[in-house]
């Protein structure tokens, strides 16, 4: 995997509008990526562990980056984070929490569960775009991923 290859991003987001914003944002900022959008916590886990509906590794490749919302149906975002970060196979995948909540409790909990980063969705288009650009830059260009 070298830099420049399209980033395989897993976006776990239950709000379809927000998901659309992220996708459009990344596209507008030319962050090359292959994005998979999953809408609930349980399916997200199934995807990463390549089981259930997502057992085909071709259609469900291991993601290079996970964007994770906290409020998710079926399995909560923090729980997904915890599971991913405690599992030997998946704990090295960078998980960026991307959520509406800026509550102290949520931030603390996320870091307790070893989130790589915590980002609050901004209520401003400019800031949102800024965020997407930076996200792309940082995680695609600069960040070194584990093999």
């Amino acid at each position: 995997m070298t830099t420049g290859d399209p980033l395989k991003i897993l976006l776990v987001e239950d709000n379809p509008d927000h998901a659309e914003l992220v996708i459009k944002g990344l596209r507008t900022n030319n962050v090359a990526n292959r994005l998979v959008h999953i809408e609930d916590g349980e399916s997200a886990l199934d995807y990463v562990f390549q089981r259930g509906n997502f057992s085909d590794p071709v259609t469900s490749p291991r993601p290079d980056l996970i964007l994770l919302d906290l409020r998710l149906p079926r399995v909560d975002g923090l729980e997904v984070l915890r599971v991913l970060k405690t599992n030997e196979d998946t704990k090295r995948i960078p998980v960026v929490v991307l959520t509406t909540s800026d509550a102290e409790m949520d931030v603390a909990k996320a870091y307790d569960y070893h989130a790589n980063s915590y980002m609050v969705k901004p209520v401003s288009f400019e800031h949102f775009m800024e965020l997407m650009k930076t996200l792309g830059c940082y995680w695609v260009v600069f960040n070194k991923r584990a093999e």
Binding site: D14, H18, D40, K121
Partner: protein
Amino acid sequence: MAHQHVTSSYMEHGLCLNWEPPLVFLHVGSDIVTAISYYSIPIAMFYFAYRRRDLPFFKIFIMFAVFILSCGTTHLFAAYTIYRPEYWIEGYVKAFTAIVSTITAVIFIPRLPEALAYPSINNSLTEIKRLNTELLEKNVELQMANHSIEKLLDPVYWISIEGKILRVNEAACATLGYSREELQGMSVPDFDPHFAVDRWPEHWENLKAIGSMRYETQHKSKDGTLQDVEVVASYINYEGREFNCATVRNVSERKQLERIKEHRLASLTSPLEDIGDVQFTDLFDMEDIQLIQDAFARATGVASIITDTEGRPITKPSNFCDLCMNIIRKTEKGFENCCRSDAILGKLNPDGPRMQPCMSGGLWDGGTGINVGNRHIANWLIGQVLDESSDMESMKAYAREIGADEEAYHQALQKVKRMSVEHFKDVCDALFLIAGQLSHMALQNIQQARHISERQKASQEREQLINQLQDKTSELERFIYTVSHDLKSPLITISGFLGFLKEDFKNHDEAEFNSTVSRISLASERMKQLLDELLELSRIGRKMNPAEKVNLNELVHEAIEVISGRIQEFGAVVEVHPDLPELMVDRHRILQVYENLIDNAVKFASGQEVPPHIMVGVRRNEEGEQVLFVTDNGIGIEPHYTGKVFELFEKLDPRSSGTGVGLAIVKRVIEVHGGKIWAESDGVGHGTTINFTLPLVNS
């Protein structure tokens, strides 16, 4: 004299002595005397041995005697042979003596050490004397110990392994009422009703194992009365002999005191209205009161007693005169009159004490009531004094009236305390003041006790309220958190897409433009809906419409009308049971409930192959309550979510329209009506049933 014998060839020894008379006499005499001694001694010894068969070294002693005997015989023959030359016989005797003496020596000498070791008589005597003194001392100690136990106030019992009484002290006899002989034949179960005969062996084993036990039980005396007692029992093993030694203490008084204290505490802390049976004895310490009463009576010279409101004595009488106590009150008529007189005296008079000549003997009596708050609880009576100016004749005549001995009556009358009416009035006034003060203090006691208990209750209530407040605060915090999050979400959508709108416009991308506009519009719509519903939610409970008689059948059909658009859109079929009841409810709210529930049901049953089928009905549960329900054949709920559906903003399917407030509103309405609501589902794909109860007031 010369005796010549021709019978033997030997010569008698006298010849050796030349038959000199003094010499012969000396020898013969000595030998004979010696022989006599040597005979008498063994005879004495034989006699001694015969009498004292337990003689130590018996055989040696006998041998000695025999030896001395044969020595004596030797001497006898020595004298004989002076006159007769029977030397062979003498020789045999000597030989015998030699044998005997040797035997004696042989058996004696080796046993010399043993003989030496034998305690000397002197030592034995001193030893015996010493032991005697020791014994005497021990005896004194024993007497002292015995005496102490005998005179102990508490009963002491010595009991055998079979449970039989071996020994008791005086107190035991006194307490149980049996004589010593009677008790010493009895067993423990005879007077301890809690000890069945077959329980004793087990008890003995327990006691042996533990060593000492303390327990409470009851003892029955000879006349049948039961007393509460405390027993301390110990297991004693002395030189292989086993005993149970038990001391007993009567705890009836202690128990009684405990009960009084409890009663007093209860009466002090319960409100005055339900004092119920609070007595004088509950409010005052009777010992203290008796002391006060006695002191007052002594100081003033009057008689005194405290009675209840009926005239029955509560305290012991102080300073009663002989006349009243032993003569008048001992007669039936006299006693009756006294009581009646007493009852009148104590009647509550707030201005001062009552004073009047006793209706019985004519002596002056006074009294005042003791009251707590407004409750008259006791009378304090004094009197039995004689004013010199009274009519002595009629007083003397009273003796006849009640049938008492006139002579004794007159004598006792002479002994009654003399006091002027004025002086007596002073005493009564003093009594009035004191009693008033006592009453006041009792009231204060009650008030204080009640104040304390009220304060405790208040503090408990406050704690409860604080807890409730804390719960509510956390609930509120959670609520605010959730609301702000759910309002923020659409804002992010709106602002985000507004940005893209500009792009789309620049790019002349009409399709994108329109799609973006609709997203924005929908998001803003959602915000409005959310705010409206939150407002609605807050109104429920604050502004309730009055309950009216509602026919649920009608109501449900009305709800269906309202959402008919959606129903038709999804091709749903809604079935309504005909036997829905009539209830007293807030019509508007329950209409909302049904609108919400049916709408939800339609939404969640849509998108499947089978058209949505909804049923609205009523059933009875196990307790016989009426349960209303709305069932659908929709996507169902996972079992562990069935509780969560009613929580605010919990949307199981995030893509569905709706704010997540609807079911929360429904729940609140039901709860405000005093009912319960819950969801049932067999799992995903198996439909859902929302059940709820409403307090039924069937018309």
